[in-house]
Symmetry: C2
Subunit: 309 residues, 2 copies
């Protein structure tokens, strides 16, 4: 028990610690929750946070999950050189900027991951910036919500969720990947290793397109003259289908542009299907209209079976 005293009071014991020090750059919902989850599960001896927003840094300092929090760019990433793992959790479009900023400050022993929702864009930039490829492993925790910011921090956000990693060929058997797998296991998340092209195509289909459809469903009625009267008639179906529409617009603008090609492909296929339905309704082709709804039921049922819903 005497060993406990070497660590801050919120650290349970050193036995489970996987990293000596973790630096989280970007303390939004995902970054802050990752830092908190690592801290709560005692997976690192030290957890440092970095953000460009003063209030966010203060909240991280006031909470008990971060050992220290630093304002950017003023802090010049103080102490990031000693971090064994750096988690870049800033908006997708800013990930290359952070990579550039830190690339000179960190040594070859440091593992770097990101948490961006599209990986092709990130992996390409990483290949340009980090000449020692084995340092960078693309990451994407499939967790989050329409809420954002450190104020919604949840150290249990990753429990039972998937955490995709997109390592390059040369990293697949590296010690760095092995350690990262242990960390993710320690968050009670499930690791999924896949190549970044597949990740981006799949995410366009099951995440980016649903976001667009949801925002579109809410947005297109915005010009209605009697919007409030109209919304009074909206019930649970509208509520579920448009929940995502509340999500951060900057984040989704970034993701949409970063995964542009895959999203356009997905939208094209989705629109084709909707246009087939338009034709079927116009010609009152009952069988064809029914087929449209049945295709949806079939996929939804498989999803529910898979997720045990």
């Amino acid at each position: 028990m005497s060993e406990d005293k070497k660590f801050p009071s919120n650290k349970k014991c050193c036995s489970g610690q996987i990293y000596s020090s973790i630096a989280v750059v970007g303390l939004g919902l995902i970054g802050a929750s990752l830092g908190a989850a690592v801290s709560k599960n005692n997976l690192a001896a030290e957890v440092r946070g970095y953000d460009i927003d003063r209030e966010t840094v203060e909240m991280a300092e006031d909470g008990y999950y971060f050992d220290s929090a630093h304002l950017l760019p003023d802090s010049c990433y103080t102490g990031i050189g000693s971090a064994e793992l750096v988690i870049i959790s800033v908006p997708v479009i800013d990930i290359p900027v952070v990579m550039e900023d830190i690339s000179e400050k960190i040594g070859p022993k440091t593992t770097i991951i990101d948490t961006g929702s599209c990986k092709g864009f990130v992996m390409e930039k990483a290949a340009e910036i980090f000449t020692d490829q084995a340092r960078f492993i693309g990451g994407h925790p499939l967790a989050g919500s329409e809420k954002s910011g450190i104020k919604n921090l949840d150290p249990e956000l990753f429990i039972g969720s998937d955490f995709v990693l997109t390592p390059r060929e040369q990293e697949i058997r590296s010690d760095k990947l092995e350690k990262l797998l242990k960390l993710i296991g320690g968050l009670d998340a499930r690791v999924k290793i896949m190549d970044c092209e597949k990740h981006d195509r799949y995410l366009a289909l099951v995440s980016h397109l649903p976001q667009i459809a949801s925002s579109g469903l809410a947005g297109f009625i915005g010009d209605e003259e009697n919007l409030i009267e109209l919304l009074e008639l909206a019930s649970s179906g509208f509520s579920d289908t448009t929940r995502l529409a509340a999500s951060n617009s900057n984040m989704w603008t970034d993701i949409t542009l970063a995964n542009k090609d895959r999203i356009l492909e997905a939208m094209e296929d989705y629109l084709k299907q909707i246009e087939t339905l338009v034709d079927a309704i116009q010609s009152e082709n009952r069988e064809e209209v029914k087929r449209f709804f049945e295709k949806g039921i079939d996929v939804r049922k498989r999803f529910e079976e898979l997720k045990g819903e």
Copy 2:
């Protein structure tokens, strides 16, 4: 207290009873839940149910909400002539058939309502079938879920929800409407009176189109070669946005065809907006992409404020 004995044990007292007898034709989720809610709240002395499905009729008989349940067409609507209120809660496309079947059996004192999700189609047929117009009042309880059937019956389904009525001019000040308002109040639902054209346009926007978008989002990935691998990556956003896709395909085929013109109008506007986004993504017009998401946020926020979510 002695008066209680005149009524089945589940009836609290006769004082709140609004109708002597109610007949519910069609014991799906809405019809069965309406019958159960009327019975539970003791709003009628007798509640009868009618359905074409033997198992459904047996379930209504076995439950304690219905005083009797009758199989159609065998029962020839036994006893429906004595009902003071008939609620037609069959698929939209079958409402005119039921109207034809019962029109000769019921007298001028009986009020008839339906629960269909589009009202123009229903009101038109009612005008043809019931020459005494004042007997028919269009109804649409804005409650329900992706679940269906009497097995999902919920006597509390209407509490706090809206119940739209679309009476014609001549019914607006009728005693029949007054009584119906009391019944709906007794279910703890809120009445909204509006003309059927407005109802159908609004419902296309906040109910029928969300259903189509949701079914479409689930359905269009159905042809994916690795559907299960893909669905494993789907998380809460996909889950919410496609929840409606599980809904009954026959019901939605009926609604889509019955509200054809309004739905096509709504789809056209929705598709236009999505196509504007396609153009903005292709030209990497960041401001335009962001505007798309911000329009969605704006409407969603108004919705949440309105509903206190």
